[in-house]
């Protein structure tokens, strides 16, 4: 996979990713819009710039791994995989339909490129740790990236895994927290307060980088920095906006699990194009 470092091209790619997410969700009529859009810049940076992976050989031993712990952002993962060339883009239209390998939440048994089935929150970081341990045992310098929702970190297992990663000095692991401030029942601070997020990860022995998760330069720099940190896992706390890229979805609790109508899709695609042209 030839990776790009050109920030302008990555930004454009992130808009393409968002457009594909919106199209597939509109077609499906159900699914998770807000949390797919909030992490689009991060996942674009990973799949099209940072990660070593081979769409023609998804099981390549030396690949970097990506674990989508917040499995409901499946449309984002599917788009990254399709645009990388793991499967034909036309498959995106089958999201959530009977017989489709594109299940509502990712299924690794059905879709090459998906490292592990997720959807039940809080489990991904433990799996990522196991991968990181195994890669180290095999003397490989592959890295493991794990994307978590901020609400998701209310699960106790996340903190059990956070403790393990630092205990075993898993410096080949990078957790990215999609800190969009929202979950299903409302703002995280009202449902179950998470702050201080940075302080929590630091207290668990992680190197923490606090960034604007929509600033492509910051995202790439943070991922670069993580690679240089030794004997400690790195957590990137990415401040994001749920529904990012579509003005009328941004920061709205409601659009966690609501898909665009066809009118909204048209408007949303227009907004994304305007940025490209402007």
């Amino acid at each position: 996979m030839t990776q790009v470092r050109d920030i302008g091209r990555l930004k454009k790619q992130a808009r393409t990713v968002r457009a594909e997410i919106l199209k597939m969700l509109t077609e499906a009529g159900s699914g998770h819009t807000g949390g797919s859009l909030s992490a689009a810049d991060i996942v674009t940076a990973l799949y099209f710039c940072k990660m070593r992976h081979n769409p023609k050989d998804p099981a390549w031993k030396e690949r970097d791994r990506f674990v989508l712990s917040k499995g409901h952002a499946a449309p984002l993962l599917y788009t990254a995989l399709a645009l990388s060339g793991y499967f034909d883009k036309s498959l995106l239209k089958t999201l959530r339909k009977i017989g489709s390998p594109l299940q509502g939440h990712p299924c690794s048994k059905l879709l090459p490129g998906v490292e592990i089935s997720t959807g039940s929150l809080g489990q991904g970081l433990s799996i990522a740790n196991g991968m990181a341990m195994g890669l180290k045992m095999d003397g490989l310098n592959s890295r493991v990236y794990c994307l978590l929702g901020d609400g998701e970190t209310q699960e106790g297992q996340v903190w059990e895994a956070a403790m393990s990663a630092s205990h075993y000095r898993l410096d080949n692991i990078c957790a990215i927290i999609d800190n969009n401030g929202l979950q299903i029942d409302g703002h995280c601070c009202d449902v179950m307060a998470l702050e201080p997020i940075v302080g929590k990860w630091a207290a668990f022995g992680w190197h923490v980088i606090d960034i604007d998760g929509h600033d492509m330069v910051a995202v790439i720099n943070a991922l670069d920095e993580a690679e240089t940190v030794k004997k400690k896992p790195t957590a990137i706390v990415a401040r994001t906006v749920k529904g990012k890229g579509v003005s009328f979805f941004e920061g709205k609790v409601k659009y966690h699990g609501i898909t665009p109508t066809s009118d909204e899709l048209e408007k949303a695609l227009g907004e994304l194009e305007d940025i490209d042209n402007g």
């Binding site: 699914g31 959530r96 339909k97 009977i98 489709s100 509502g104 939440h105 997720t118 979950q183 299903i184």
Partner: protein, 319 residues
């Protein structure tokens, strides 16, 4: 016995909607009722209670294990906690907390989970609980109830509030037709027999009661006398009702929106094999995970249809 109350103005609502309404009524009557949720109060319908009684509602965030432990603690101070989230997460993620804290100590905690079975639909297998009845049924001290419609759900909630001990109630996401008669009175451990068939008897629970009644109608037109039992309490099982049905027909069919392993079918087989062995055919999910798709298509895909019940009974009778 009584016909379904559809014709007399019963509403087709999801059992989770009935739960939301029942909680509100209960909250007005009793101020020891406390409700807990795990970031799904809009979906489980505990949100209405939260709005009406904010001082008696706790959103625990996305942390099901903490949800169960906290409910246990509340019950130890004399409160009557109802803990709700999706069935997969409630019975799966927090299973050992339920076993150790709630069941073993016989705490008065009501576990009311929604989004059970494959009718969760498009979210797919990760969210479709097809093993929750089994998981709860194996626990000593646990009562397991699967209401079939909105009318029954409301009665179940009222009944379990008056019962002291751990209860698991399995509710669904989608709208379901009314199947219970207007004069129906639920009591824990008592099945409702619509009709006792001479050729076969279908023991069903949840949304499969409606499907079973449809199958009964089709079979009647074809000259086959099939009966239907709504076994809404799966534990303790209404052994007498099962025995009567087995003696009357010699063929039992179980029907559930759950794995054929460990659920209603399992419970009926366990009882009959030791007490009155007759052939039993199990309609349910055949040891496989679910998948994404529209509810009605999934019901067909997994054979949870009246036609499949009819076919199963006819084939079994031929032998």
């Amino acid at each position: 016995m009584g016909e379904r109350a559809e014709s007399t103005g019963g509403k087709n609502i999801a059992t989770r909607d009935a739960y939301g309404e029942a909680l509100l009524e209960l909250g007005k009557k009793r101020n020891d009722v406390v409700v807990l949720d795990a970031d799904l109060s809009g979906s489980t319908k505990t949100g209405a209670f939260a709005k009406a009684f904010p001082g008696r509602f706790y959103n625990m965030g996305i942390s099901e294990q903490d949800l169960i432990g906290t409910a246990g603690g509340l019950s130890l101070t004399g409160k009557l906690p109802f803990a709700s989230t999706f069935a997969v997460f409630e019975t799966g993620r927090a299973w050992e907390q339920i076993r150790q804290t709630i069941a073993y100590s016989h705490l008065n905690v009501k576990l009311v989970a929604t989004h059970s079975g494959i009718t969760v639909a498009e979210d797919g297998a990760s969210h479709q609980a097809i093993e929750d009845i089994a998981l709860m049924r194996v626990l000593p001290n646990m009562t397991v109830i699967v209401p079939s419609d909105g009318i029954e759900t409301k009665q179940v909630i009222a009944a379990i509030a008056d019962y002291c001990g751990p209860v698991y109630v399995r509710l669904g996401r989608s709208k379901v037709p009314v199947v219970m008669p207007e004069d129906y009175k639920f009591s824990i451990g008592k099945a409702h027999t619509y009709h006792t068939g001479k050729d076969a008897n279908i023991i069903a629970a949840g949304i499969m009661v409606d499907v079973a009644l449809k199958a009964m109608g089709i079979l009647k037109n074809e000259g086959v006398d099939a009966g239907v039992i709504n076994m809404s309490t799966i534990k303790p099982l209404d052994n007498d009702a099962v025995l009567r049905a087995a003696k009357a027909s010699g063929l039992i069919v179980t029907a559930e929106e759950h794995s054929i392993i460990g659920g209603l079918g399992g419970a009926v087989c366990e009882f009959l094999s030791e007490n009155y062995p007759v052939p039993v055919k199990k309609i349910g999910i055949k040891d496989t995970f679910g998948c994404s798709g529209p509810s009605d298509e999934l019901m067909k895909l997994y054979g949870l249809t009246a036609d499949n019940i009819v076919k199963t009974i006819k084939e079994a009778l031929k032998k």
